[in-house]
C-alpha cells in the first residue's frame, strides 16, 4: 500500500527555502506579464533575466550552504509541488541561469516587434525557462512530471511559432509526440519505483533504493533510459531534434539545445545514481554504446547538413553522445570498483554538460544573428559575413573552436577528461570484450572530435569566410549591441572555463563524488588515485601565444617588417566568381562518400536540351540524404499502427444488429468468465 503524503503542516517554511521560489516566481511573473501586457515585448525578457540571475544566486548559495527543501501546499492529497535544491540541482540550475541570462540579454535585441514580438513568444519563453528551473528542483514524481511536461509544452509553443509553414507544423507535431512518448516511459519508470517504494516522493525513492530487487531496477532503468533518451535526442530517438530546433526562434533554439536536452542528462544521473544504485556494469555499457552511436552519427549528420541551425541541432545529438560516454564510463567504472575513475568520468560528463550549454548556446545565438541579418539559414547562400559582422564572427569562431574540442577552450578540457575516463575503462577492462568495447568507445570519441572540427570549420568557414554566395549575404549589418554583448559574454565564458577548468571541475568533482562514492570525501583524493596525466590550459595558451609572438618577432628582427600586397586570389587565371568557391556540400562530400552506406545520399540531375543533345540550356540538380530512421524505424511503426487502427474501426460498422450482438456477446462472455 502506498503511503500518501498529505501536506505536512508542521514543517515551517524555512527562510532559506524561499530562495527556491525567487527564480520560479520571477519566471512566472514574466510569463504573466507577457499575457497581460502583450505590447511590452521586452518586459518578459527582463523578468527572465532577473529570474536567471536569481537562479545563479540560488545555485551558488546552495553549493556553498548545502541542500534546502521546500514543499508548496498540495495540489491534491497525493500530489504536491516539492522542491529540493541540492548540489546536483544547483549545478544544473546554474547552467540554466547562466545560459538563460545570456539568452535573455540577447533577446532584448533579437525579439523586437518585427521579429518574434508576439504575445505567445515572451510568455512561452518565460514559462519554458521557469519549467526547466522547476524541473531540476523537483523532488517528487508529481513535480517532476509537471515541470517536464510544462517544459515540453512551452517549447512546443515556441517551436510552432511560425506555424504557417508546413514544415514547422510537422516539426512541432513530431516534437510534441516524441517528447510525450518519452514522458510516458518516464511515468512508467517512476510508477515502478513508486509501487516498489510506496512513495511518490524522491525521498521515499532514496530510502528504498537499497531494497529494490535487481529485476525491478533493471526494468526501471531501461524505462528511464528510453524516456530520457527521447528528450536528450539520443539516436535513434533523435528525429524530432533536427526538426524542432531549427524551427524555433534562435534564442529558443539556444535554450532547447543548450539546456533543455540536458535536463534529460540531469534526470538520468539523478535517477540512476540515487534511486537505482548500485548500478550494474551493463547499464554503463548500454549507455556507452548509445553515446558512441549518437556521437558519431550525430556529427556525421551535422557535417552533411547545410542549414546552419539544423547543423547545430545534429551537433547537439553528438554532444549528448559525448556526455553519455562520460556517464556510461562512470557506471562501468563504479561497477568495477574503480570509484576514483568513476568520479572522474561523471565529473567529465557534468563538465561537458556545462560546456556544451555555453558553446551551443553561443552558436545558436550566432546563427540567430546571421539569420536575422541575412534572412536565410542556408549556408550555400552565405559567406564573407566576417567583414560586416565582426563581433558575431569572432564569437562564433570561439564557439566553433570550443565545440570542436580545440585547446585552450572549454570543449577540449571536458573532452580531455572524458578521454582520461575512457582510458581508465580500457585499462581496467576485465577481459578482452570489455577492453575492446572501451577501445571502440575511445575510437568513437576520437572520430567524433575529428569530424566535429571538420563540421565547424565548414560551418564557420562557409558562413563567415570567403565571399558572399548570394545577395542576401552581401549587404548585412552587425547585430544590435544586446545580441553581440550576450554572445561575447558566452564566448568569454567558454574561454575562461577553458583556461581555468578547475572552476567548474571542483564542483562537478564534488557532485560526482557525492553521487558515486560517498567515501571519497575530496576530489583531490580522486585525482591522485591514478598516475598524473596533466593538462594545464593556461600553460598551453601561454606557450602557444609566446611561441607565435616569438616567431613573428624573430622573423621580423632578421628579415625586416612585413610587406603585403592585396590582390585577387589565384583561381587558374580567371576572375573569381562567388559560385566558384567550395560550397558546403562540396566540402563535406568526401565524408558523404565514405559513409554513403549509412547516409544513402541521392542525386537527381536533369539536363534540359532545347537544340539537340549537345546544347544544354538548363541543369536541374537536387541532392540530399534519404532519411534512414524514418524509413526503417518510424514509418513502419506508424503505418502499421494506423493500419491496425483502421482495421479496428470496422467494428463500428453502423449496423444496429451488429451492435446488439456486441451487447449480447459481452453478456455471454462475461457470464462465462465469471462463473
Amino acid at each position: 500500500m502506498m503511503v500518501l503524503h498529505p501536506p505536512d503542516e508542521e514543517a515551517p517554511l524555512e527562510l532559506d527555502a524561499s530562495i527556491v521560489l525567487a527564480p520560479l516566481g520571477l519566471y512566472l511573473l514574466g510569463a504573466l506579464s507577457g499575457v497581460v501586457f502583450p505590447s511590452l515585448t521586452r518586459v518578459p525578457y527582463g523578468f527572465a533575466l532577473a529570474g536567471s540571475l536569481s537562479a545563479i544566486a540560488a545555485g551558488l548559495w546552495a553549493l556553498a550552504n548545502g541542500p534546502v527543501r521546500l514543499d508548496l501546499p498540495s495540489v491534491a492529497p497525493y500530489a504536491a509541488l516539492n522542491f529540493r535544491l541540492d548540489a546536483l540541482s544547483a549545478y544544473f540550475l546554474l547552467i540554466i541561469g547562466v545560459l538563460a541570462s545570456a539568452v535573455s540579454v540577447y533577446s532584448f535585441g533579437y525579439a523586437d516587434a518585427r521579429h518574434y514580438g508576439g504575445r505567445a513568444v515572451g510568455t512561452a519563453y518565460c514559462a519554458f525557462v521557469g519549467a526547466m528551473a522547476g524541473l531540476v528542483l523537483a523532488d517528487g514524481v508529481f513535480s517532476f512530471l509537471v515541470f517536464w511536461e510544462l517544459m515540453s509544452l512551452a517549447s512546443f509553443v515556441l517551436v510552432v511559432h511560425e506555424h504557417k509553414e508546413a514544415e514547422v507544423r510537422r516539426a512541432g507535431f513530431i516534437y510534441l509526440a516524441m517528447t510525450h512518448a518519452g514522458a510516458g516511459f518516464l511515468v512508467a519508470g517512476f510508477m515502478l519505483l513508486a509501487g516498489a517504494s510506496g512513495s511518490l516522493l524522491f525521498d521515499g525513492f532514496r530510502t528504498a533504493a537499497g531494497d529494490l530487487s535487481p529485476l525491478l531496477r533493471d526494468g526501471a532503468f531501461l524505462l528511464f533510459l528510453v524516456g530520457f533518451s527521447a528528450k536528450a535526442g539520443v539516436i535513434p530517438l533523435h528525429v524530432w531534434l533536427p526538426r524542432a530546433h531549427p524551427a524555433a526562434p534562435s534564442h529558443v533554439s539556444a535554450l532547447m539545445s543548450g539546456v533543455m536536452i540536458k535536463t534529460a542528462i540531469y534526470g538520468l544521473i539523478r535517477v540512476s545514481t540515487e534511486f537505482l544504485a548500485p548500478m550494474p556494469a551493463w547499464w554503463g555499457w548500454v549507455i556507452l554504446a548509445l553515446g558512441a552511436v549518437s556521437a558519431v552519427l550525430g556529427v556525421i549528420y551535422a557535417l552533411m547538413d547545410h542549414d546552419l541551425k539544423r547543423l547545430l541541432a545534429y551537433c547537439s545529438v553528438e554532444n549528448i553522445g559525448v556526455i553519455l560516454l562520460g556517464v556510461g564510463a562512470s557506471m562501468v567504472l563504479s561497477a568495477n570498483g574503480a570509484r576514483g575513475a568513476a568520479v572522474l568520468a561523471l565529473s567529465a560528463a557534468l563538465f561537458h554538460t556545462l560546456n556544451h550549454a555555453l558553446f551551443k548556446g553561443l552558436l545558436f545565438l550566432g546563427a540567430g544573428a546571421v539569420h536575422r541579418a541575412t534572412g536565410t539559414r542556408d549556408m550555400e547562400k552565405l559567406g564573407g559575413l566576417i567583414h560586416a559582422m565582426p563581433w558575431t564572427a569572432a564569437t562564433f569562431l570561439v564557439g566553433s573552436a570550443a565545440i570542436s574540442a580545440i585547446p585552450p577552450f572549454n570543449g577540449f578540457a571536458s573532452e580531455w577528461m572524458t578521454l582520461q575516463a575512457l582510458l581508465q575503462v580500457v585499462a581496467g577492462g576485465d577481459g578482452p570484450p570489455a577492453i575492446a568495447a572501451g577501445a571502440v568507445a575511445t575510437a568513437a570519441l576520437a572520430l567524433t572530435g575529428g569530424l566535429a572540427a571538420f563540421c565547424f570549420i565548414k560551418a564557420f568557414g562557409v558562413t563567415f569566410l570567403g565571399v558572399a554566395r548570394s545577395a542576401a549575404a552581401e549587404h548585412v549589418r552587425e547585430a544590435p549591441a544586446a545580441m553581440t554583448a550576450a554572445m561575447a559574454g558566452l564566448a568569454l565564458a567558454c574561454a575562461v572555463l577553458g583556461l581555468f577548468p578547475t572552476l567548474a571541475v571542483q564542483t562537478t568533482g564534488a557532485i560526482a563524488a557525492a553521487a558515486l562514492a560517498p567515501t571519497f570525501l575530496a576530489a583531490t583524493e580522486v585525482i591522485t588515485a591514478a598516475p598524473v596525466s596533466s593538462y594545464v590550459p593556461t600553460g598551453m595558451l601561454a606557450a602557444v601565444a609566446a611561441f607565435a609572438v616569438l616567431a613573428l618577432l624573430v622573423v621580423r628582427l632578421i628579415f625586416g617588417p612585413v610587406r603585403e600586397r592585396v590582390s585577387a586570389p589565384w583561381v587558374c587565371g580567371v576572375l573569381l566568381e562567388p559560385r566558384m568557391q567550395y560550397s558546403a556540400s562540396a566540402l563535406a562530400k568526401p565524408v558523404r562518400i565514405i559513409f554513403q552506406g549509412l547516409l544513402r545520399p541521392y542525386r537527381i540531375s536533369e539536363r534540359r536540351h532545347t537544340h539537340g543533345a549537345y546544347f544544354v540550356t538548363e541543369v536541374h540538380y537536387e541532392g540530399g540524404l534519404r532519411p534512414v530512421y524514418e524509413a526503417y524505424l518510424y514509418r513502419p511503426v506508424v503505418s502499421s499502427l494506423v493500419r491496425l487502427a483502421s482495421r479496428v474501426r470496422r467494428v463500428q460498422s453502423g449496423s444496429l444488429r451488429l451492435y446488439l450482438s456486441y451487447i449480447f456477446a459481452t453478456l455471454v462472455v462475461v457470464l462465462l468468465l465469471t462463473r
Partner: protein, 311 residues
C-alpha cells in the same frame, strides 16, 4: 617552471627549430638515395624557408584577420607540441603542462587555424584542400588515439614521461608502431596519403590549403609543417625507441640523449623515405582504407596491451 625545465627548454626549442627543416631535407635525401638519384642538400629546406620569409606576401582581397593570424597560431601550436614531446630526454620542458592528449589537441588547433585560413581566401583550391585534409584528419584521429592508448592503457596514464619510460618489447608495441607510423605518414602529408611535392589540383590536400599563401606567412607555415613532422617522429621515437634518452639532466646523459635522438629520427626519416619510394600515392578514396587499417592495428594493440599487462 623549474630550472631543470628551463635548461631543457633552452636545449629543446633550438633543437627542434633547427632540426625540423633539416629532417625534411634528410627525408628527401633518403628518398633520393632509395630512388638512386641525386637529391637536394640537407639544408635546402632552410634556404627555402629563409627565402620565403624575406619575400613580400600577396594576400587575397577577400581575406580577413583569420588568414593573417593563422600562420602564427599554426606555428605556435606546433612549437608548443614540440616542446611537449620528449626528444632527447624522456621528459620534456613543458611535460608537466600537458600529456599525449594535449599534443593531439595542439595538432588539432594547428589544423583548425590552417583550414579556416584556407577557406578565408575564397579560392576554390583552399576549399578543396581543406575538404580532403579534414577528411584524412578525422579518420586519423581514432587511429592516433588508439595508438596512444595502446601504449598508455597498460600504464593507466597518458603522461608523456611515463610513456617514454616504458619498455616496448611486446606485441602491443609492434602493432601500435604500425598504427602510429601510418598516422605519421598521414599527418605529415606524405605518400601514399598525400604528396608533399605536387601542386596538381586533383591530388593535393595539404598543399591546396596553403596554396594561396606566399612570402613570409608561407615561410612560417613551411617551418610549422616541418616541426609537425618532427613532433610525429619524436613521439614515435619516444614510445617505441626509448633507448638512449636522457633520464636525468646531467651533461653526459643529455649528450647521449641528443645523439640517440638524432639517430632515431634519422632512422625514422629513412623509413618514411623508403615508404614514399616504394608506394604510389593512393586515390583519395582509398586513403580511408589505409587509415582504417591503422585504426584496426591500434585497436588490436590496445587489446593486446591491456591483456598483456594484466598477466
Amino acid at each position: 617552471m623549474t630550472p631543470g625545465d628551463l635548461l631543457l627548454f633552452a636545449l629543446q626549442l633550438p633543437l627542434v627549430v633547427l632540426l625540423a627543416p633539416a629532417l625534411n631535407g634528410a627525408i628527401k635525401a633518403w628518398k633520393a638515395f632509395w630512388q638512386n638519384r641525386q637529391g637536394p642538400g640537407l639544408l635546402q629546406p632552410w634556404w627555402d624557408i629563409a627565402k620565403y620569409l624575406a619575400r613580400e606576401s600577396v594576400v587575397s582581397e577577400h581575406a580577413s584577420w583569420v588568414y593573417r593570424w593563422a600562420p602564427a597560431v599554426y606555428l605556435g601550436a606546433l612549437l608548443t607540441a614540440a616542446c611537449l614531446a620528449p626528444t632527447l630526454a624522456i621528459f620534456s620542458p613543458l611535460g608537466r603542462y600537458g600529456d599525449a592528449i594535449a599534443v593531439v589537441g595542439l595538432l588539432a588547433l594547428a589544423r583548425f587555424a590552417l583550414a579556416l585560413a584556407a577557406l578565408d581566401t575564397a579560392s576554390n583550391f583552399g576549399g578543396m584542400g581543406t575538404s580532403r585534409e579534414l577528411m584524412f584528419a578525422a579518420l586519423v584521429e581514432p587511429a592516433l588515439l588508439l595508438g596512444v592508448f595502446a601504449v598508455a592503457a597498460p600504464l593507466g596514464t597518458t603522461n608523456l614521461e611515463a610513456l617514454a619510460a616504458g619498455t616496448p618489447v611486446d606485441m602491443a608495441h609492434v602493432l601500435a608502431f604500425g598504427c602510429l607510423f601510418i598516422v605519421a605518414i598521414a599527418e605529415t602529408g606524405r605518400i601514399p596519403v598525400d604528396n608533399p611535392d605536387t601542386h596538381l589540383e586533383l591530388t593535393m590536400a595539404h598543399e591546396g590549403m596553403i596554396l594561396e599563401y606566399s612570402g613570409r606567412p608561407l615561410g612560417l607555415l613551411l617551418l610549422g609543417g616541418h616541426v609537425k613532422q618532427l613532433v610525429m617522429l619524436s613521439l614515435l621515437a619516444a614510445f617505441f625507441l626509448p633507448w638512449g634518452s636522457a633520464r636525468d639532466l646531467t651533461a653526459p646523459a643529455l649528450a647521449l640523449g641528443l645523439v640517440a635522438y638524432v639517430l632515431k629520427v634519422t632512422v625514422l626519416a629513412a623509413a618514411l623515405g623508403l615508404t614514399e619510394s616504394l608506394n604510389a600515392k593512393l586515390r583519395v578514396f582509398k586513403v580511408p582504407e589505409l587509415l582504417g587499417t591503422a585504426s584496426v592495428l591500434g585497436f588490436l594493440a590496445v587489446v593486446a596491451g591491456v591483456t598483456g599487462g594484466a598477466h
